[in-house]
């Protein structure tokens, strides 16, 4: 363990030294070459692979602590040891991946400096001051996470508040790191703070460019989803490997919490995505149109399929989970209807609109769009579909939540009626604006999506505001039988993790690909032999290879982390709590 700490510290120092020396190195390098060719696979594939891997690991180590600290606070306030154990388990996973993230980050820098010297010279000329901020934040984050993890026992009892504060602090530093690095990538897409010749006029303008804040929010939420799915997949593997009922119960519960976190964040992720898309259009219409209606249009059909899998998979996991809850039989009759809504939503979302078609295809269809299904391809239909899918997923969770509860409140009838009314009203608002959107100008239609989002979010808040008091002190119809869930449910958790990781790779390709043959859009042109933006099949092959490598590395790192922990629980460290028969709260 001491070796690992020293290695990480050394790595951090090397990365910092390199980061600060890079502008000088890059400028020297730029005098001799604009590009260099990476052996065998070429520079672009090398950068692509390392950047995607780095992003996967970084998203994991930034996302997991967000909900780990929330779970720790729950354990601290309720006094329930199992939450503290779970939070520690989550941070343990993060901790094991920390040094790999730093290593991949350093590798990425090597690649930029060595193989894209001209780009790096320009880029460091713009963002050099932020490198110092990044380095400082990296130090602060590293030390805070170290203290948080290793101080778990030391800062317990009356000092727990200090420990929780460290968790919160490490999240703040982590978020700040994310924001700084997002400024770099978003500048490449939507540069700001520069004149027509590309010279820096305002560093803040370069940071606070069109897509910076939308990407900050989008990635922050997505990191939580990603962290949740990976943690749930980890629990799923441990569940399938478990030898005892107690172990199965523990990891069933851990998988459930991981998935709950992922679904909760997934429900708001599309809204952040729309905001990001809108800002891309606001920055440059041509770029927005290329993204949605140009050579990238088929990408959104693939994305729709992946998101459909995520929604249907999440719901299916909840429905399977209900089978281990006595009293849930009452709600099973709703499942077919929910499947129908999810399937219809999925079909609408996967219907393309502006896709490049050949003249012969146009002749067959009778125009650029399909005569019947074409109307489902526009954003009015898609916004309606995704909002109804979110409402349905929320309903699934609500039924799961009350599966073994019977409210004893005298106003339960009224409460439930009001809840159904809220659901119906939200669905009606969403559908109304979806249909009305066909009859107004596009600029008005874009505004309608805000009303749809507000209706859904409002419904979520209001329904929960009624549900929590309505089921407080409810009569139980039986304990949740943790560990008795069907093993196929664990494969659903793995499916969600794989799908979301693959989706991240795809969206990374979209974000980067919309720049086409520009390193910095409209400012610094890509004149390398790799300036061609590849087709979707090529990108998919690459994404699959990198995702497979990511999961192989994750397995290896978790296995390494597990070696260090062996025997600790028995020695009185973080003894795993008994979950079997424990009630879900």
């Amino acid at each position: 363990m001491r070796f690992r700490r020293s290695a990480l510290a050394l790595l951090t120092l090397s990365a910092l030294g390199l980061l600060l020396a890079l502008p000088a190195v890059a400028q020297e390098a730029a005098r001799t070459a604009e590009y260099r060719a990476f052996p065998v696979i070429g520079s672009r594939l090398a950068v692509w692979a390392i950047a995607q891997l780095h992003l996967n690991f970084a998203a994991f180590i930034l996302g997991v602590p967000i909900f780990a600290v929330i779970i720790e606070i729950m354990g601290w306030r309720t006094g329930e040891q199992r939450y503290d154990w779970l939070s520690h388990e989550f941070v343990k996973l993060t901790f094991a991946a920390f040094s790999t993230t730093a290593l991949l980050g350093a590798l990425l820098l090597f690649l930029f400096v060595g193989y894209y010297p001209k780009f790096w010279a320009y880029f460091s000329g713009i963002f050099y001051p932020t490198f110092w901020v990044y380095a400082l934040l990296f130090f602060l984050e590293t030390f805070t996470v170290y203290l948080w993890y290793y101080g778990w026992d030391w800062l317990s009892g009356s000092k727990k508040w200090i420990h929780v504060s460290l968790g919160v602090l490490s999240n703040l530093f982590g978020t700040a790191i994310l924001f700084v690095s997002n400024a770099w990538v978003t500048f490449m897409t939507s540069p700001g703070g520069i004149d027509e010749a590309g010279n820096l006029t305002s560093l803040w303008g370069a940071i606070n460019n069109y897509t910076w804040m939308p990407l900050n929010i989008h990635r922050l939420i997505a990191n939580v989803v990603f962290g949740g799915t990976i943690a749930a997949a980890y629990a799923a593997v441990r569940f399938l490997q478990a030898k005892t009922d107690e172990e199965r119960a523990r990891y069933d519960w851990m998988g459930y919490v991981g998935n709950f976190v992922a679904i909760s964040a997934l429900m708001v992720l599309p809204f952040a995505g729309y905001w990001l898309g809108r800002e891309i259009y606001a920055f440059n219409q041509t770029m927005g149109i290329t993204m949605m209606g140009g050579f990238m249009s088929w990408l959104w059909v693939v994305q729709a399929i992946l998101i459909g899998v995520l929604f249907i998979g999440s719901n299916y996991y909840l429905w399977l989970g209900m089978e281990r809850i006595p009293g849930s039989e009452r709600y099973r009759r709703y499942i077919p209807y929910m499947i129908m809504i999810l399937a219809a939503g999925f079909i609408v979302w996967a219907t393309p609109r502006s896709i490049p078609v050949t003249p012969s295809e146009m002749r067959v269809m009778g125009g650029a769009h399909h005569p019947v299904l074409g109307v489902l391809g526009v954003m009015s239909a898609k916004n309606t579909a995704v909002n109804l899918m979110i409402l349905t997923t929320f309903l699934s969770y609500l039924l799961y939540r009350r599966a073994n509860k019977e409210s004893v409140k005298p106003w339960v009838g009224t409460g439930m009626a009001v809840q159904w009314l809220i659901f119906a009203a939200a669905a009606a608002i969403v559908t109304f604006y979806g249909v009305y959107g066909y009859f107004v100008e596009s600029i008005v239609r874009i505004g309608f999506s805000v009303y749809q989002v507000l209706a859904v979010l409002g419904a979520l808040v209001l329904v929960m505001a009624i549900d929590i008091p309505m089921f407080r002190g409810a009569r139980s119809t039986g304990e949740i039988r943790w560990g008795t869930i069907a093993p196929r449910s664990q494969y659903v958790l793995i499916l969600l993790a794989v799908t979301f990781t693959w989706l991240m790779g795809l969206m990374g390709f979209a974000r980067s690909g919309i720049r086409q043959h520009w390193h910095v859009y409209g400012v610094l042109r890509d004149t390398s032999p790799d300036a061609v933006t590849p087709a979707l099949g090529y990108a998919a092959n690459m994404i699959t290879v990198v995702t497979a490598v990511f999961f192989a590395l994750v397995l290896f790192i978790f296995w390494l982390g597990g070696l260090g922990e062996k025997g600790k629980a028995e020695a009185g460290g973080h003894a795993a709590p008994a979950i079997a028969g424990g009630s879900h709260r």
Partner: protein, 268 residues
């Protein structure tokens, strides 16, 4: 035989990713290639050739077709069918040619009612059409219902000029490389040469721009020395000893070196 959990999980994950990959490979595969520069300055070109070139730019580099349709009402931008004739009636006292050129360079100046002001100036990045390309697009638009009359001089000089095309012959350049230039004494170039004195140039066209290659031949010291090689070895006299033709041929040959193994010029 009992399959370990990790084995089953790995196979499952690979199957899932395989399904996504298969689907992504089975739909239409569209690449986005960097646009090529068109240069017509000083050259003879017929109106037909000009219109054809303009149509290509309209669809490719100009990305006009993303919003504008011909013969179909667009939601983002006006239908351009018949624009060659209707442009003359849009603004009193303004010819179709002037209207079209100004609409390309300053689209907000002549906004068509009912459409948003979203068109970028096509002579500025990221589209960045040069004068020749603007000339060709203007000619193509004139041809849609009108008569092609636009001349290169009608395009303002403020628009970026086209890059000069190199007229060199790679095969002759290879002879210069192996003979008069004496480059082979120090450099390897694909299947030609084997000397390790200077950097291997087998993929120089892949990693360097034409500007760099041209400047390096004339001023080796001024362009720096590749790390790991001695400075001051490359002669600075090639600019004087080679004729202009030989120099261009040599550059053209070097631009064929993209790392495919054998020297491409020799293959032809």
């Amino acid at each position: 035989m009992r399959v370990p959990v990790l084995g089953k999980v790995s196979v499952f994950a690979l199957l899932v990713m395989g399904a996504y990959t298969y689907y992504a490979n089975s739909i239409p595969q569209l690449q986005s290639k960097p646009p090529e520069e068109l240069s017509l300055e000083g050259g003879n070109v017929t109106p037909e050739q000009l219109v054809k070139a303009g149509e290509g730019i309209f669809k490719e580099k100009g990305t006009c077709e993303v919003c504008h349709r011909i013969g179909q009402k667009g939601t983002r931008a006006p239908d351009l069918a018949g624009i060659g004739a209707t442009a003359a009636k849009r603004k009193p006292g303004m010819t179709a040619k002037a209207y079209i050129i100004e609409s390309l360079l300053d689209p907000g100046a002549h906004l068509v009612e009912g459409y948003p002001n979203i068109m970028p100036k096509v002579d500025r990045p990221p589209i960045g059409l040069n004068r020749s390309e603007l000339w060709a697009v203007a000619a193509f638009l004139e041809s849609l219902g009108g008569t092609v009359g636009v001349k290169l001089d009608d395009i303002p000089k403020t628009a970026v000029a086209a890059e000069v095309k190199l007229p060199g012959d790679p095969k002759a350049g290879q002879a210069v490389f192996m003979g008069k230039g004496g480059c082979i004494a120090c450099h390897k170039a694909g299947a030609i040469g084997a000397s390790p004195v200077g950097p291997d140039l087998s993929q120089i066209a892949k990693i360097q721009t034409p500007e760099y290659i041209m400047a390096k031949i004339l001023n080796p010291a001024g362009m720096g020395t590749v790390a790991g090689y001695p400075a001051g070895v490359m002669p600075a006299t090639l600019g004087q000893t080679l004729t202009a033709r030989e120099y261009l041929d040599l550059v053209a040959f070097l631009l064929t070196l993209k790392g495919e193994g054998a020297a491409p010029a020799a293959k032809k």
